[in-house]
């Protein structure tokens, strides 16, 4: 993680200054300084990801590696925020108003984020499944000599792939178990129809009636920039943290298929008049536009690799549909190029999905830990209030 160097020095700076200042008064000024520094860090880091070079297509916007970078940034910001919040403070300081309201609200949002992480983890399993299907198709299409047998094989895998990608389009109602997906009367069964209905099983769900779009909406409630005398200091810090968390969760949901994303809002409460937020706003607009475009057609999530897979998949299905041995030369050549591209996408997925899954886990653990730590500090206050005899 490239951020760790800057991060550790940042934390170092805070603790040194905190120790100095504790000797004197003016802790509020120092707080403001910390906050400014934090804001700058956040702004810089997000600007960095936005400006990734475009010559490496697989580091493109919303690709697996881009999302990994985003999550790294999130983890960095989260650690700093927590440090500022907790370092050198006792329970009394973080329980006074308005923090007595803001902090429990933050913790509630963290819980929602945990559920979203679970949903994303399920979604990544689906993505992995798609990868496996694509690999079967590539295997078939790269066979030499290539004939109708392999063509049918590839088509079957590709059709399963496309069908799996659009899994969450009509999700939502409590479904039956998947017996009927397997009940093939051999009469009337199209041999090439997709057989892999198992992803409609319970493992896909976080819980019955859970909805990713509703969670995000709930998380955005009450995220307002602090006003007046509160505008500087800890309330502002918490606001920034809320914003980042909501934003990152939103990006994940837009990119990766998960339970019930219909009606995902494209508005997040990012204030327009603050200078460091325009990077976030820019990203939000860009992703929001893509989302609106694709939502009507039904889609598999904006993940770059999935989009590519879908496009190539559709095109190759057309190819296999019309293929007759030995096939027209230019069509075969065109298909070969696409197969090579698809193979590359699979390779990228193979390399990147594992680390991404681990990163989501890491985010999950980190949020859990931070929440516990904050709760612990709040409890220290309760514990230590018992007077000694």
């Amino acid at each position: 993680m490239t951020g760790t160097d800057t991060q550790s020095s940042f934390l170092g700076r805070i603790s040194i200054r905190r120790n100095q200042v504790n000797a004197m008064d003016g802790s509020h000024e120092q707080e403001i300084e910390d906050l400014d520094l934090f804001q700058k860090q956040v702004s810089d880091r997000f600007a960095e990801i936005l400006s990734a070079p475009d010559d490496t297509p697989f580091d493109a916007f919303l690709s697996i590696s881009w999302i990994r970078k985003l999550l790294d940034v999130f983890l960095g910001c989260e650690a700093e925020c927590k440090a500022i919040l907790l370092m050198g403070r006792d329970a009394a300081q973080i329980s006074k108003p308005p923090l007595d309201r803001l902090i429990p609200e933050l913790l509630d949002r963290v819980v929602k984020a945990l559920d979203i992480c679970n949903a994303i983890a399920n979604g990544l399993e689906l993505v992995r499944h798609c990868q496996k299907l694509a690999e079967i198709a590539v295997l078939a299409l790269e066979q030499k000599p290539f004939g109708e047998g392999q063509s049918k094989r590839a088509k079957k895998a590709l059709v399963s792939l496309i069908s799996a990608m659009h899994l969450d389009d009509k999700e939502g109602s409590a479904h039956k178990t998947t017996d009927r997906n397997w009940s093939f009367g051999r009469r009337g069964g199209n041999k090439d129809r997709p057989l892999f209905g198992h992803y409609k099983s319970l493992s896909w769900q976080v819980a019955r009636n859970w909805s990713a779009s509703k969670q995000i909406h709930a998380m955005t409630m009450n995220v307002v920039p602090p006003r007046g005398p509160e505008a500087s200091g800890l309330p502002s810090l918490i606001f920034i943290m809320n914003l980042i968390m909501v934003f990152v969760m939103w990006v994940l949901i837009a990119a990766i298929p998960c339970q019930e994303r219909n009606g995902l809002t494209t508005h997040l409460p990012i204030p327009k008049n603050v200078n460091w937020t325009h990077t976030l706003t820019g990203l939000l607009e860009k992703i929001g536009d893509e989302w609106k475009k694709k939502e009507k057609k039904g889609m598999a999530g904006l993940l770059f690799e999935m989009q590519k897979m879908e496009k190539l998949g559709q095109s190759l299905i057309d190819f296999t549909d019309s293929f007759q041995y030995p096939g027209e030369k230019d069509k075969v050549e065109e298909a070969a190029k696409q197969v090579a591209e698809l193979a590359e996408v699979c390779q990228r997925m193979e390399e990147g999905l594992g680390p991404l899954q681990m990163l989501i886990r890491e985010v999950f653990h980190r949020l859990v830990r931070s929440r516990t730590e904050i709760l612990d500090v709040l409890d220290q206050g309760a514990k230590s209030s018992a007077p000694l005899v």
Binding site: V111, K112, L114, D115, N118, N122, E125, H129, K132, L133, E135, I136, L139, P145, G147, E148, G149, Q150, K152, R153, K156, T177, D179, W182, F184, R186, R187, K191, D192, L195, F196, H198, S201, L202, S203, Q205, V206, A207, R208, W210, Y325, P326, M358, R361, F364, H365, V368, R369, R371, T372, E373, L375, D376, D379, A382, K383, A386, P387, L388, V389
Partner: protein, 621 residues
Amino acid sequence: MDGCQSTIPTSEGDLHVVAAAHHIVKALGATKNLSDDLRKILIDLDAHLSMITSNTDSKGGRGFVNVEERLKQAERKILSWESDPRMIWDSGPREASKYLEAVDEIQTLVDGLQGLSVHENRKQKELIHHAMSVLQMAMSRLEEELIHILVQRRQQFDPKHMTSRSTQRDVVYDESFVSVEDEPTEETSSRNCSGDEIGEYIVDLIHADVIPDIKSIAKVMFTSNYGPEFCEAFIGVRKETLEQYFAIIDTEKLSIEDVLKLEWTSMSSKMNKWTWSMKIIVRVYLANLKGHDSWLLELGEAVAMGPHQPEKLLRLLDMYETLADLLRDIDTLFSEEAGSFVRLQFHELLESLGDSSIAAFEAFRVAISSNGSLYPFPGGGVHPLNKYVMNYIRMFSEYCNTLNLLLKNQHVDVADQVIEPDNGPNLSLSTSCPMACHLRSITSSLESNLHRKSQLYKNEALQHIFLMNNIHYMVQKVKGSELRLFFGDEWIRKHNGKFQQHAKNYERATWSSVICFLKDDNPGSSSLSKQTFKERCKGFSIAFEEVYKTQTSWCIPDPQLREDLRISTSLKVVLAYRTFLGRNSAHIENKCVKHTVEHVEKFLLDLFEGSPRSLRNSRRW
């Protein structure tokens, strides 16, 4: 099936035979009295023979006659099933094996044809192409058959049989797991689960007779490079199967948000139900373990991918350890290629089990610290959450090695961490091993939670009683088990101090105001005036009776602790009362001194029995 090459004539001798045959065929074809059929056969044969001889330009001749014939034959078999509505494997082992033979034949022919020469001629290409098409058809069919076999077996699982006993089991399990006595029963020990109870309704979900079928399908599919399809289908069905079982046993999936909102009682019953059903399934699968290693695969996969509910942790650890042992002895179930796939799956599974165990551990902590109560726990006794957690973590010591391995990379925030030097030569048992650190952080979360719960009491004295009881309970649990090796003496000493502090706080909160009435304002002077004495007596009586009324309904479960507190209280109160009465002995009349010292002593024994009493209406003199 031996190599195809031996049946394609390549030698000079063979070619002579072919030429001779061709000659004969031509001669026969010239006869006049041929039947139509025979004529057709001869024409066919002629064409083939011509082809063979015309191919002698390319590398010493190729004989495709046999190849094409064999291909046609195998194809016939496969096509005949395409239009058949029945499932092959339902129609008996003979049909199944004939089908597999046909597929095998085609694969062999393809191998042979592909290995023949570098200069591919048109005929050869056509044959290969044709064979591959037929092969694909067969593979598709085999996939369907495989799924059918697996699904069919699953449908024999009788849900009624399981659920009818579930409600019974619930009650038994509930009591024994969080028993008042706190005696470890069979149920609390994950390792000693008695197979008998569960054996009654173990349904052999994976019939032994099905496995050879699956193996044979796997072999054929892997040999033909259709391994990926086999794996996807196989894993898919098994995952789905497990989800179905869970659905049948009615374990509802809850989001983390939902779980945190649960009141303790419903959370507790859900946990119990879940653990019970998990046990059933794990035992069923593990019973088949010896011969059927592969079934552990999908079980593990399904479990690992599920929500990380804390109570799952022990099961995961069970599986992790079993799996780790297994990996040492795993032998090839399938062909080489399939075998390495299986091995890879096992390793991946082990990793994901490890991940899940860590996640479950974390979720356990979250669940503990977030478990909320709306109402104070009546009587101030030991809270069920406390019992549950302490009993649960007691079992962890069995998994010490595994947990240490899994947890060593986890960063632990240990605000209450007490560092202790190694206790002995065995490093893993020291109080500084990863598991010990995590256990302490768990109890720290528990403590914090208990503090929050104590705030629900309005009465400050009861808050202290509650905390005293619960911390004492925790210390007892640690001291009385292997946990003491992980927590260490320092922790025990510190927490002893804590509950003793709460005891003192209780005394102060309760009795200072009562004893106030008995205070000696002017040490040097003589006794109080009669009027003051009367008022003081009355005040003391009322205050004492109030305490009696309230605190007889409180509870201190541990007898030793109860005794200690009574003695300590008694010393203070009785002594003060006796002194007070003694100093003012001149004023004592029967009317104004409501209770004698002996009575007070006796009444104090009624406190903390958990049954409320009142002195108001009793005429105990």
